[in-house]
Each structure stands twice: as C-alpha cells, then as structure tokens.
Symmetry: C2
Subunit: 828 residues, 2 copies
Amino acid sequence: MTTTAVPDSTTGWRATGVAELAPAELERIHAWWRAANFLSVGQIYLLDNPLLREPLTRDHVKPRLLGHWGTTPGLNFLYAHLNRAIKERQQKTIYITGPGHGGPGLVASAYLDGTYSEVYSDITEDTEGVKRLFRQFSFPGGIPSHVAPETPGSIHEGGELGYSLSHAYGAAFDNPDLMVAAVVGDGEAETGPLATSWHSNKFVNPAQDGVVLPILHLNGYKIANPTVLARISRPELNDLMVGYGHKPYFFDGGYDESEPPLETHRRFAALLDEVLDEIAAIKARAAGGDLSRPMWPMIVFRTPKGWSGPAEIDGKKTTGSWRAHQVPLASARDTDEHLSVLEKWLRSYRPEELFDADGRVLPEITGLAPEGALRMSANPHANGGLLLKDLRLPDFRRYAVDVPAPGGSTSEAPRVLGQWLTDVIRLNPDNFRIFGPDETASNRLQAVYDVTDKQWNAEYIGPEVDEHMARAGRVMEMLSEHQVQGWLEGYLLTGRHGLLTSYEAFIHIVDSMFNQHAKWLKVTNDIPWRRPIASLNYLLSSHVWRQDHNGFSHQDPGFIDHVVNKKAEIVRVYLPPDANTLLSTYDHCLRSRQYVNVVVAGKQPAPNFLDMETAVEHCTRGLGIWEWAGTETAGEKPDVVLGCAGDVPTLEVLAAADILRRELPDLKVRVVNVVDLMRLQDATEHPHGLTDSEFNGLFTSDRPVVFAYHGYPWLIHRLTYRRAGHGHWHVRGYKEEGTTTTPFDMVMLNDLDRYHLVIDVIDRVPSLGSAQAGLRQRMQDARLRARAWTREHGDDIPEVRDWVWPDAQDLADGDQVGATLGTGGDNE
Amino acid sequence: MTTTAVPDSTTGWRATGVAELAPAELERIHAWWRAANFLSVGQIYLLDNPLLREPLTRDHVKPRLLGHWGTTPGLNFLYAHLNRAIKERQQKTIYITGPGHGGPGLVASAYLDGTYSEVYSDITEDTEGVKRLFRQFSFPGGIPSHVAPETPGSIHEGGELGYSLSHAYGAAFDNPDLMVAAVVGDGEAETGPLATSWHSNKFVNPAQDGVVLPILHLNGYKIANPTVLARISRPELNDLMVGYGHKPYFFDGGYDESEPPLETHRRFAALLDEVLDEIAAIKARAAGGDLSRPMWPMIVFRTPKGWSGPAEIDGKKTTGSWRAHQVPLASARDTDEHLSVLEKWLRSYRPEELFDADGRVLPEITGLAPEGALRMSANPHANGGLLLKDLRLPDFRRYAVDVPAPGGSTSEAPRVLGQWLTDVIRLNPDNFRIFGPDETASNRLQAVYDVTDKQWNAEYIGPEVDEHMARAGRVMEMLSEHQVQGWLEGYLLTGRHGLLTSYEAFIHIVDSMFNQHAKWLKVTNDIPWRRPIASLNYLLSSHVWRQDHNGFSHQDPGFIDHVVNKKAEIVRVYLPPDANTLLSTYDHCLRSRQYVNVVVAGKQPAPNFLDMETAVEHCTRGLGIWEWAGTETAGEKPDVVLGCAGDVPTLEVLAAADILRRELPDLKVRVVNVVDLMRLQDATEHPHGLTDSEFNGLFTSDRPVVFAYHGYPWLIHRLTYRRAGHGHWHVRGYKEEGTTTTPFDMVMLNDLDRYHLVIDVIDRVPSLGSAQAGLRQRMQDARLRARAWTREHGDDIPEVRDWVWPDAQDLADGDQVGATLGTGGDNE
C-alpha cells in the first residue's frame, strides 16, 4: 500500500452542477467499464491467453470454474462512474461492496487504478501480470472469489451478507470529509441486519460524520430466485426507502436495448452529479449549523444481473436472470459450444482496444481514476491501521476502588470502569466510541454521560424524557446487536477504537459476525500491507449467573466457547473477578491490536478482593495463587486446589475456602484465580499459555483441583486436558439446568455453590471422605435450608447473602466495611 | 389444557361492519382492562394482600421487585379488544407477544379467560388463587417474568427479541382459518430479523394460509432510549409500512387526557372492526380465486409506555417514558412514599368493583372472552402438539441407490434425499414444508420441484426466469436465515412438520434462535399440558470441507459445538457418510418429536459405501465397525482403530485404510464409522450414549485410535474423555487453517488427508514407528506432490481425485463403476 498522505481535508463536498460530459469522457468511462468487465470474466475463466491474442482453446480455460459473475458488471459500472466524480470533486471516498460475490470486479478495478500492482508487485501491468491476475483468482494458493482482506480498498468481506450499510456508517462516523459509497445487493437487502441498517441515518451527525451513499443494486436475482425488492412496485419501493428516511433516485440501465451505451453512461453520470450536489448542499447546511436529519439521497441502481454477458446460454435466458449469478458457462472447458460463447463474450469487450502491445491497459483509460490516495482502492481509510492513533489513556490506577481487606468493599465493577471510560472519552473526543443495544446504562457505564451523550438524530420530545441524547455523542445505541456490532467493526476497520457492551445472554446473536471479523483479523495478519487495527472489545456485563430480572428466558455463556474455536492468535477471554481487575484488564484491551477481547464482568454489587497494586500484578500474570485465601504451608504441596474463573465462581470459591478453614483447619487449601482464560492452555497452543512447569507450579500435577468456572465446564477440560494433572480436575460450571431469580438459588441449581464445592473437596481429598461424613451432611443440610428459605422468602438466605470474607468481617467488627460505590437501578 | 375440539372451520372471516357498542359493552371492555392491569401490577409487586382488602404494608410487597410493566397495559388493552371481536366473529385467533417482557399481562389475560386455572389447578379463581398467581411471578420456583412456554396461549417466548412476525407467519401458513394477532414491540422492531420479517407478506397465499395482523405497539421507549419508529414523522412511518406492503391503520390512545376511557375503547373497537372487515373482504376475494397479494392491513397502536401507571415518580415523568420500562417503583418495600404510590396505583383500577367477595373476577367481566378453544390462551394452535399428525412417510428403502460394492457408485446424497422428500410432499400436502435461504436447489433438493413450487406472492415476470414459483408451494425461500428459521419454528410450534436446508458455513447466523427454540423444547418437556411437537430438522448440505465456490470466505463447522452445549435430551447430531445412510437418518428425523436434529451431509458427488440394508443397520446402531474396510482377525484385538465421522473424513479414512492394507498387510486395522455423534458420549450423559463396555468393544481401551472428524477435533475429545481408552485417541478435524478451492487441498490444509492419517498410524502404533520411516517418507512425498499438482493445475491430483475403494475398482475392472446419479450445477 502506498503511504501517500491523506488528501487535505479541505477537499470534498464540492457542488459542481451536472457535468456536461464530452463524448470522449463518456467513451473513457465506457472503456474503463469494458476493461473491468473483461478483467473480471478473465479471472473467472482463463488460465492462459489472457488478452485473447490467439484463438481461445479449451486449454486456456481453468479446469474448475469458480466465482460469481452476476453482480460484477454493476459493481464495475459504479466504480467507473465514481472514479469520474471523485476526480472532479476531489472527494475522499471508499467503496463498500455489499455483494461480496463481486470479488473479480473489485480486483479488476483495483488493478485498473494501479493499486493492485502497487501492493502485489508480481501482478504486473503487462501481459504476464494479467495472466497471473487471472490465474490466482479462486485458485489453490491464490485469492478468494469474494471481496476479501486481500482486496485493496475493502473493509467489508464477502461471504456472509447483511452488514454493508452498518460497516459503511461505522466508517463514516467521525470522518466528516469521507464519503462511503455503499453498494447494497438486493439479495443482501433481504437479510435482517441489512433491513434494519437503513435506519442508521437516524444516528448520523451531518457535520461531524461523513456521508454514506447507499446504492441499492437492484439486479433482480439471488442464487435461484428473484429478489423481493425487485418484485414490488416502484411506488412501494419508493415508499420503503422514504420510510427508511432516504430520498431515492432511480436509475434503470441496460434494459433498453435501443439505448446506446454512451447515453446510458451520460444518464448515470448526470444522476450521480445531482446526488453528489445534493449531498454537498446538505453538508453546507450542516456547516452552517443545521444539524437536523436530512433525507439523505440514495440510489436505486436497476440493471440486469450479468449485464453485458451472454443473453442466452443453452437456449435459456441468462443475462437478466438468476442463471447469471455464478459461472454462466459451466462447460467452457468441456464443450466447443460453451467455449465459443465464452470467446465471443470476452471479445465483445474489444480487448484489442483496451491493452497496448505489452498488455498494459491504455493510460487514457486508467486516467479515469483519481490519483494517489483518492483512488478508492488506495484510500487509507480502507486500511485503517495506517490512520490508527494510540488512545490517550488515563492512568487506570487513579480510578481504583479502595479495598482495605479482601472483600472489604463492594462495587458494581462496570460502574467503576465507567468512570475511567469517562476520561477515556474526554481525552479522545474523536476516535473512540461506545456501542451497545440500549444497554450502556443497564450495564452500569452511565458515568460516561457526565461528558458525552448518546448520538441521536431522529425526533426529540423534551428533556424530561430525552436524557443524555444529542446530535453528537460518543455512545451509539440501537436495539440491534447486529447493527451496533456492524457499526463498531466499520469504525475499527477504518482506524479508530471502541467497545461493545451487551448482555452475555444475547451475544450469540452476533456469533457469525464475530466469526467474520475474526477471520478478517486472522487473514490480515498475513497481509503485509494491511496495518494492525484496534481490537474489537466486548464487555458482557449482564451475565448468566445474575438473570434476576430475566430469570428463565435468557440464554447461555457459550459465546466464550464459540470464540475459543478461533485461532489462538486472535482471541482473548478475560474474567476479571472484581472492580480493580476489570480496570486493569480493560486498560490492556484498549491498548491492544488485532484481537477480539471478550471481557465478562457482572454488573451487580459484588465484593472487591484485590487492591490496585495486587490487581495489576494478578492481571499481568493472568492467573495466580491468592495466598491470603488459602491455608497452605510454605514449601509444602497443598492438599487441594480450589480454582476459579469469573466473579460469581470466585465468590463461591472464597466462601467455600472460608468454610474449609473453619471446619477443617488442618487442610492445606490453595486458591487459584484465573483472569485470562487462555493462560490455562498449553504454551504451544496459545501465546498466553503456560508451560507445563508453570502450570504444575500453580495447580500441582497430583492434587485434586476443584475448579469453579463461569461457563460450560468442559471448556476448562478442553483447555487443560493435556496437562499431567488433568485427571485430578473436577470442574463445576454452567449446566443448562435452568435459571432463577435469586443469585444463590442460581448457583445451587448448577451445583456451583459454596456448599457443593466443600462437598466436592470432601469427596476428592482422600484423607477426608468418610471421615468427614458429618461435615458433608451439614453442607447438604445448609443447601436444603438455603433452598427452602429462598422458596419461602423470595430472596437468598441471609447467611449466604450477607457473607463476607473473614478479613472484611474483622474490619467490619473493628470499624466498618469499606464504602460501597453507589448502586443504582437494575435495568433491563 | 382443555382438549375442546377446534371450532368448526366454517367459523371466521365474517364481516360484521363496525359494531355500535353499547355503553355497557364498553364498560365491560374497560373493566377487563382494569382487571388485567391490576393482576399484572399485583404479580410484579405483591406477596400478600392480593385484593387490597386491607391497607397495603411493606410486608405485602415482594422483597425483590422483578419484571416489566411498560409494555403490559398495551398488551392487555389489545387482548381485551380482540376478545370482543373474536367472540362476535367466532374468529379463531392466536396472540403473539413480540414484547415478551409483558409476561404479567399475558398471564393475567389467561387467568381472566379461565385458561390459567384450567391448566394450573392450584391457581384457583379465588383470593388464595390470586395470591398464588402474584407470588409465583418471577419468584424462585415460580414462573418466568417473560412470556414463556408456561404461559398458555403462547408459541413465542420472551427473551431475545425479533421473531414475532416470523413466528406469526409460520403459524399462519396452511391454517386458512386462523388469524394471528402479532404484537410487535417498537423496540423489537429495531432488530434486524424483525425489520426484514415485514416482507413475509410476499410469501402468503391468501386462500390457503391464515392471516397475520401485525400490531406495531408504538409505546415509544426501550430500556433507556426512545425507539426509532416512534421518532420519525407519521408520514415516514406510514411510507415505511406501505413500503413493506401493508395498509397501516393508526390508533392513538392514552395521550389525550380529556378523552374519557370509554371513548378510547369505542374508537379502538371501531378501528378493529374496520380492519377485520377488510381482512374478511380480502379472504372473500381469495375464496373467489383472486390470489394476488393484497396490501394486508396492520395497526400502528400508539399508546404511552406504562399506560395507566403513575404519571410521575420521585418528580420524574414515568408513564409515557422509558422509566416505565421495568419496575417503576423500585423502593416500594423500602419507602413509605413509594409504598403509597403503589397502593394508589393499584386502587386506581378499583379492584373492589372487579372481584367478588371470594376473590373471583366478576362473571360479567370474564364474559368478555370467547368460549372454549376460541379463547386465545386456549387455542390449540398455540399448543401445536395437540394438532400434530404423524407424517405419512414413503418407505425410504425404495429410494435407495444401488451400491454393488463399497464405493461402487457415486451420488450427491442430498439429491437422493430430494427424491424421497418429493414423495413426502406428495403424501403430506398441507402439513410439511421445506424452508431455506435461497439454497434448496443449491443444496440439491431440486427434485421436489417435480411436485411443488416455491411459494411466492410478489410480482412475476415470466416463465423464462420464474421457474418453480407459484402462489402456493411447499418450499419457502427468502435470503434470511433468521426469517426462514422463524417461519419454520412457527410452523412446528403450531403442530406441523418441516426442515431447514442451509449452508453449514452460515448457520451460525441462527445460533441464538436455536438456543431459544432448544430452551422452549426443554422447558415444555416438563409442562404436562404441552404436547410434543415435531423436531426442528436441519440439513446442512454445503459444508466446510467443500467450499469450492466460496473458498476462504465462508465460516466454520462450529454449529455442532454450539448445539452440543444444550441438554442431551433435546439435541441430536448426525453425520451420514453417504446417500443411503442419509435417507435412513432423515426418515428417523422426520418421525421424531421434541428434538433439534442437525444433519450434515455434503452435496458434492461422493462415493456410496453402504447398500440400503447395511445402511439401515448402521444407522440403527448409530455407529459401527465396517468389517469390509478393516483387516482384523476375528477374535483378536486390532493394532489400530481408524475412526471417522462425516462424509469427507470417512472418504479419507477409507483411502488411508486402503494404503495401509497395501503397504502394511500384516497390520490389523479396524475402521469404525460414526453416524450419530451422540453415541460417543457416555450412556449416563446422553440417552444415545454407549455404555463403557459397548464403547470399548468398538474402540478398544488400549489401542491407538486415529479419528478423523468433520468438525473441530476437541469435540470428539469432549465426548470421549471419560472413556478408559481416551488417552490413546488422536483426533484430526477442522483446524481453522484456512480454506481453499479444491477438496484434497482443503483436507491437506487441515492434516485430515489420507497420507497424514497413515503417518498418524505409523507414529502411534508402537510396532511401526521408526521401522516404517520409509513409508512415512513416501506419505510425506505424496502430500508434497499432491500440493504441488494442485498449485500447478488448479485441480486435485488424479491419483487422489480418481481414487476408489479397491472393491469398486475390481468392479470397474470387471464391468463398470455403478451408475452415478446425475450431478448438476454447483450453485451458490
């Protein structure tokens, strides 16, 4: 990637009027389009004879014909016309390809504007380069058939459909000079995430943010069906777009065979100028202080699927039908008939007029593109790492809660984090945002509203209900996990920072989006010209152990399992047990690059265990022995190890340790807390993994380990099963046994409670067993008592609810339990 | 649940004109609404003194205040009015509660119409019953705060939002006499799945299907924000609904304080009559043969959030704001001020006018409801198992492919399945549908188009492009996994059958929907009055090992992992290795109840291994030794076990077994194939699990097992880690190492290929090891050769691509390889 400086910010948003294009200019646009189409078809079909300088033979055709043609010519047409307009207006623009299948088109366009050869030096601008360009496409060891990280200018991978507009808006936020031309496929438009993402326009600030120009590519067909939006009346489609808050401009091209191509180009160029002038006018009004939501223009681009391809194949209508979706000539290598159609099709673009003798595209054609970083394929916003600046992070230690003794104070950990985030926002006013599905306050980050608001550009009613809402703000909330994740991804991919807060119980909604983003990160790690971007940070603050308001109806802790399936170099999972560890963890997350960081931290009031100094040490190690909680003798192995990961499991393990020290004072108990889940893995499997000797030093290789875990227990087995001592591990975790409305009832339902953990210890330490049948029975009784109390009173039994770690109790007996940071409403 | 017969199908769709309701009838509607609201508020707050027959004290208030008030009064209002209209028109109707938070409202309504006490005999219709009704709500051991399986009349669980309309349409398909009143929350309306589900109206046949009446509950607020649709202009909202294909009717209620309540009721009743008459007219036109898509009416129901609750609390506007979302009086037990507001609020419904001396709601109020199965809470469609009929299934053995020897024929397995499904459709013309996101043909089920079509009621262009599309058809395709899964769920929950075909690579899109449905099934297993419904069947036919067209950009095989996290009694995972086993498996799936069956079967041409008789035996066992593939000596333990699960892994294991029998003829190899993945688990953990002795009989407890698996390898470890021999297991599977465009290249990338499996055997069988360094080297060389060939030719090396099992080769040498069932285009 060239590191050409970003164009001066005074460029852009020029109103030029509708240009009267000279025939030569129209010819140039048409030539670019033919060249792009030729290069696209060549990629799909040709192994050799790239410029058709000899008659096409079967051997020139690839043995496996893969890829998609249908959407490609439309994408190429738009790219050509945008080039003309960008050059004229010097308008910084990136191009989002909703129809990701159109990979060959975007590769062809990047090749034509020169970017491709700049970033891939072996794809030269000559016959040999064209041959390599063709051959590599959807070929073993080559490039994907979809728009991909390998495609210069892209921040939006093909594959799963539905996120083009969300990504586009994410890219536009805080980029006031950037236009994002977002092509939406009419197939993609049927997906849920895309259908709601049109409403993104209610969240745009017309002065501070860039402009998204949605272009609905209405080519009419999916794999095997017409599209819904192509089969409703034009008035209905118009109403739909107006209802979404847009002013639609309709363009029909390619259907009227009597229209000369240059006239089609002239009409579209005029329409594009009209649209861009309207955008410039909106921008001018915004610059003048009118920040109200305009009806942003959008284009309905109705052209035939497979436009310019063979009208019929084997007697069946192909262009303008779903039959053009993929590879229309499946037998081009096998039958002379198909081969001949292919040759005719390729020659219809008149390659002899497009390439010089060396196989270089004629400069008068490539000259359509703007220069340098104004080229859409070279725009640095589409390689966000180029623009990424470190966040200015306030010292998180200053936000520490006071922990006079373990358990000696109580916090809602995310509320503490919120105070630090407030200053993160203050210090980084234009490159950091918080995203969430209507849950930022519910997840206890409301301190941020001291310095910012929720950005909202729909109607206002009045201050008595419209709290913390403004036309500019750092918090982005809409009730769609898809939407907010898509926005955040677009924001990160263009070189900014952010986090997403959500309920753990519903984060599975974006499982597939996580997959796509993780894949993007993994692939970009191997693309030298792609610079690292900020990590995608989750804060899951309403977790499955405290579903008080939502007992029974919420989901599971399996997002962690889903995440851990991805490559180790991409994913991190943190389970900070209290407020100070959460602060330390999040500071680390916001400094990191190219990861997906999943942080799970409950929002309910909970004891703090570590003062800041200890918390930093603990988080730096990622896991460690809590000596103060155990009863070991220095230099001797413990009798049993109590492990814990997650805030609720940690609380129960400490309560169990407390029981054990009182009931079995001679038992040597070690307590190990895990913050960084990946530390449990083998060093050979994850960069954060422990070596065997480190691992055995913590957990021993031969003592029983009773491990209380936040999620499904088998994940802990998975992470540890290669360890020597794994046979001695006994893991308690989430069991899908149902949920309930009081915290201790919930842990009891899943056998993760303190009493059950003590029973586990008795059952697993050989020296206890039947000797402690009495204690075992008392633990059973305590459970039954707690269950009965809860059923009777609707709340947890006081001996459980009010339990504190003994050191904190001593403190309380002497003076007072450390101050509780205010707790507020329990929203959902 | 009463088993009252379904009302005669001649009921319904009556046009009555706008009723002139007598004041007494309006009073009755208002009294029902007050009673429902009183019972709702009581559930949220009261532990005792349910009818306020004494002054309210703090002790009467629950210690933990949980639940949601905001949406409830609107839901109650609609329920009351629908009662009136249903009774008048004898219109079979079910009620879908999009705002699932409104649990108390639906429980209250079911209590008022008598259903609740019928299904829960301890919730009696007297003071004690009301007390128990209140106490159980969101209480440990009680009922959820959301609409749930426990709620009579519901097929739509609260919790995750977004599927109310999809479920509603699923319920309406093939139920021509049923109206589905679907209340859509304006929060829910922001989700992606809901935003696209409005387009469901393009898939309705107005004669053969029922009617969905969407009611957008525009109460203006979410947890902490206004809703988007409440903050766009009315013309914009009108356009949006028209653009979605609806004729919107707007109702505003509760904002004009000068309007008497009865006038509000009169206006809504009139509007509802107008809407229902319009529906009746559409139905009459359809009965007369006009099947074209009408603009179906829908209602925008704009009323204040928390309507009828306290206007202000603590000096802040509450009713008509987001502050009414959850529990408006959080301190009702803690402060006299809140307690007094609560009492005033409860008394505002004048309970003394609603209940008789025994605490029974006055019969003149409950008389508003229709009778028997016409009550929305008692409608048997909302307890689909009551209506479920077994499918008539043709004998799948008749569709068997001929397998003269293992590997002796080739099929695209789903194409074979499609022929059987064709007759399933023929035999079950009105209670079986196939759902998919535009992939039914791509997944090779196109034989079904011999007997049916894709149902489509948007515009038609002409037969040259609109193949297999009609206003009535058994195949439902829209490019939204959310939509088609939601439709299928609604169809199943109302007592019908179906399956969903999708690409494995994208099925993570519905992870959270699977979660919700699995939870529903699990909970209903414990609700005696809920009858079992047909299983939700997936057919994932474009799997991760054959991403030819989509190399690099598609996702992973992790859906299986996600599914296996759920309770064993709910989930089944099948990996049939060929066509006959797929037939046998699917026959089993379509006969089953209350499961989620995940079947993964590749769509590419692949060898058949088992004739039908053997396939049935194999599938009945779920796994077994393939003696013909091994080289054991009877009565002796094998030296090594090659295990496989999945079609591609099975092929590679057989190819490895072939190499081993040629290269190491003395090695005793056993081949075990697994169809039913759950068989690997312990019998104590899954109903399908093997006992240890069965397991050891297959895999031994001390011989090396090299296991080739379709998905992430650690799942096999998870399923088997408690087995005695697990330390000897070595699993190969999907490694996230990237994807490519040729099949063998793909398996090599993941070290699952035949050569690597042979190396695994050499490395793990003690008697081989260094003695076979030569063979090991030749395997390495073969891999390098295959890789180089692929990179050079873009296709797999012939020795791999054309390999067949030796018995088939013998057959070929003698005569011919068995006929290949036609293979067609490779669509995506």
